[in-house]
């Protein structure tokens, strides 16, 4: 199975099962139209005949021979026999290794598109996690992590800086427990930046493995959705703090991350605004929203969004060719040292190897399920845990998703986000179509960037 496409002047063939990417000249690209997956050593006469009006015979045969060489090396039209073994490995129990710790169900912003209902997750009351609950959450993670050494804890909200003293105490507690249990905690934090201070910046840069700083881009775009409690925009109160933060971050990971909506379908300008501000690690995500919302992405918006992704890809290529650098999270793709195929069969770990913990200690499959009673998995306070829900999430993989079967993107998105699929698609095994289309476009762009930068 191959996926061939033209983008930005490049002819690209992705061999889906091997993961090999080939950049082709026009003749080779055209020849692939006449190969159904089985290749003979000699170039078939009908291919020569069909292409003889455009190319001469010697060229056609020469191209065919190169393609045949790739075929022989299992780099073109490779089979997927290896999936049988990989599928067996999927049946093995996965320990829980990552946690979204909802340190604050409260927020100092009132973003209009917030999936957490501006911080309280539709609970009707705002709350902060106590140190005691946080400790039990960390103990729960260690207990459930089996032989996994690398454990991840993301301090999330609401706004985690509203409960920063507990964050610091929990980092200290985790550092103490990791020595006792031979684990390696990676703490991360996701913040809107409003409460960042010099002390907090110093602490976060010293202790957090990765940091996500929320910003939607241009001031007018950011302030339309990301509002303070008094209704004013948040842009002016965070930009200098982010610059200060990033200037001290060194080589450690961070992302300035935005959300785009139907209100700013020209979001490439927002991402480039981030880059112009000096931020090198960037991301911008399509809003997750009910289709009734006027800012929700619609099917009819896709052509514009695709064009914006192409613009971003071209910007990255141009800047890198000029010796400058910035990253867009969704165009980062590792063609040679990326994750193993077992990981790729079920990328989203929610409910299986990843859980979210509320300030009260309740356990949910991920942050997007918090507050949905039918998805409550238990509590770290009384040690209850519903393994049936875990098994349901563990069983979700691309081999069980009919839409993924013949999709070229299946080893790159791994069947999509479980929450998107359940909340907006047709269920855990039925991916959300708009997300699929966006992801496919991003992968095409990411591969094209690799092709351009390989010249």
């Amino acid at each position: 199975m191959i996926h061939k496409y033209k983008l930005n002047g490049y002819n690209i063939a992705l061999d889906i099962n091997s993961g090999c990417v080939h950049v082709l000249d026009d003749i080779s690209y055209d020849i692939l139209d006449y190969i159904d997956g089985n290749m003979e050593k000699e170039c078939p006469c009908d291919i020569i005949e069909k292409l003889s009006e455009k190319y001469n015979k010697e060229e056609i045969v020469s191209c065919y021979n190169e393609l045949y060489e790739l075929y022989e090396e299992d780099m073109l039209f490779a089979d997927d026999d290896f999936l049988k073994n990989a599928a067996e490995k999927l049946k093995e129990y996965s320990p829980i290794k990552a946690m979204c710790l909802h340190i604050a169900h409260d927020c100092n912003l009132r973003c209009e598109y917030c999936f957490a209902s501006t911080g309280d997750y539709a609970a009707g009351h705002r709350s902060l996690m106590s140190y005691e609950v946080g400790k039990k959450a960390i103990d729960f993670l260690i207990e459930k992590s089996g032989n996994r050494r690398n454990l991840e804890v993301d301090f999330f909200g609401g706004e985690p800086l509203m409960n920063f003293e507990v964050v610091k105490k929990l980092v200290e507690y985790g550092r103490q427990r990791e020595k006792e249990c031979n684990k390696n905690f990676r703490f991360t934090i996701t913040t809107n930046g409003v409460l960042l201070s010099d002390d907090k910046i110093k602490y976060i840069n010293e202790n957090m493995h990765n940091v996500v700083l929320s910003l939607d881009g241009r001031k007018e775009v950011n302030d339309k959705m990301r509002k303070r409690v008094d209704g004013t925009g948040s842009y002016d109160s965070i930009i200098e703090k982010y610059k200060n933060f990033v200037s001290q971050r060194g080589v450690k990971d961070y992302y300035v991350r935005g959300t785009f909506t139907r209100n700013n379908l020209d979001f490439s300008k927002d991402l480039m605004h981030m880059v112009d501000l000096g931020f090198k690690q960037t991301s911008i995500e399509p809003v997750v929203a009910d289709e009734k919302e006027n800012y929700a992405i619609r099917e009819e918006d896709l052509p514009v969004i695709f064009s914006e992704y192409e613009n971003l890809a071209k910007e990255i290529i141009e800047k890198r060719k000029n010796g400058q650098f910035f990253n867009f999270f969704h165009f980062m793709i590792d063609l040679s040292q990326g994750p193993c195929v077992i990981k790729r069969l079920k990328g989203c770990g929610s409910g299986n190897e990843y859980v979210a913990i509320t300030p009260e200690g309740d356990i949910y499959p991920c942050h997007q399920f918090v507050g949905m009673e039918e998805y409550k998995m238990g509590s770290v306070m009384d040690g209850s845990f519903d393994n049936e829900i875990k098994e349901k999430f563990a069983a979700a993989n691309i081999l069980n998703k009919p839409k993924c079967k013949d999709c070229f993107a299946k080893f790159y998105c791994s069947g999509g986000c479980n929450a998107n699929n359940i909340l907006y698609g047709g269920g855990i095994d039925d991916p959300y179509d708009i997300s699929c289309q966006l992801e496919k476009k991003r992968i095409e762009c990411a591969i094209m960037i690799k092709a351009a930068l390989s010249e």
């Binding site: 099962n17 091997s18 993961g19 090999c20 080939h22 950049v23 082709l24 000249d25 003749i27 080779s28 191209c63 190169e66 790739l70 299992d74 780099m75 490779a78 290896f82 990989a86 490995k89 996965s94 290794k97 990552a98 979204c100 996994r148 690398n150 991840e152 993301d154 990765n210 959300t259 995500e285 399509p286 999270f329 980062m332 590792d334 063609l335 040679s336 040292q337 990326g338 994750p339 193993c340 195929v341 077992i342 990981k343 790729r344 990328g347 989203c348 190897e353 990843y354 942050h367 080893f411 998105c413 791994s414 069947g415 986000c417 929450a419 998107n420 992801e439 992968i443 092709a451 390989s454």
Partner: protein, 49 residues
């Protein structure tokens, strides 16, 4: 090769043999939180490199 340029030679099949250690980052713990991108995750299994 004259007509084709291959950008990567390591195949997914090779990773099936030694993969599955589970030590790599969970997809959602990076920058997405509302989507899933896997191909940019770093493999942390030294035996698989």
């Amino acid at each position: 090769m004259k007509h084709t340029k291959t950008l990567n030679t390591k195949t997914l099949k090779e990773t099936a043999c030694k993969g599955g250690c589970g030590e790599c980052q969970t997809s959602c713990q990076s920058a997405c939180k509302t989507s899933c991108t896997v191909a940019n995750q770093e493999c942390e299994n030294e035996n698989n490199k």
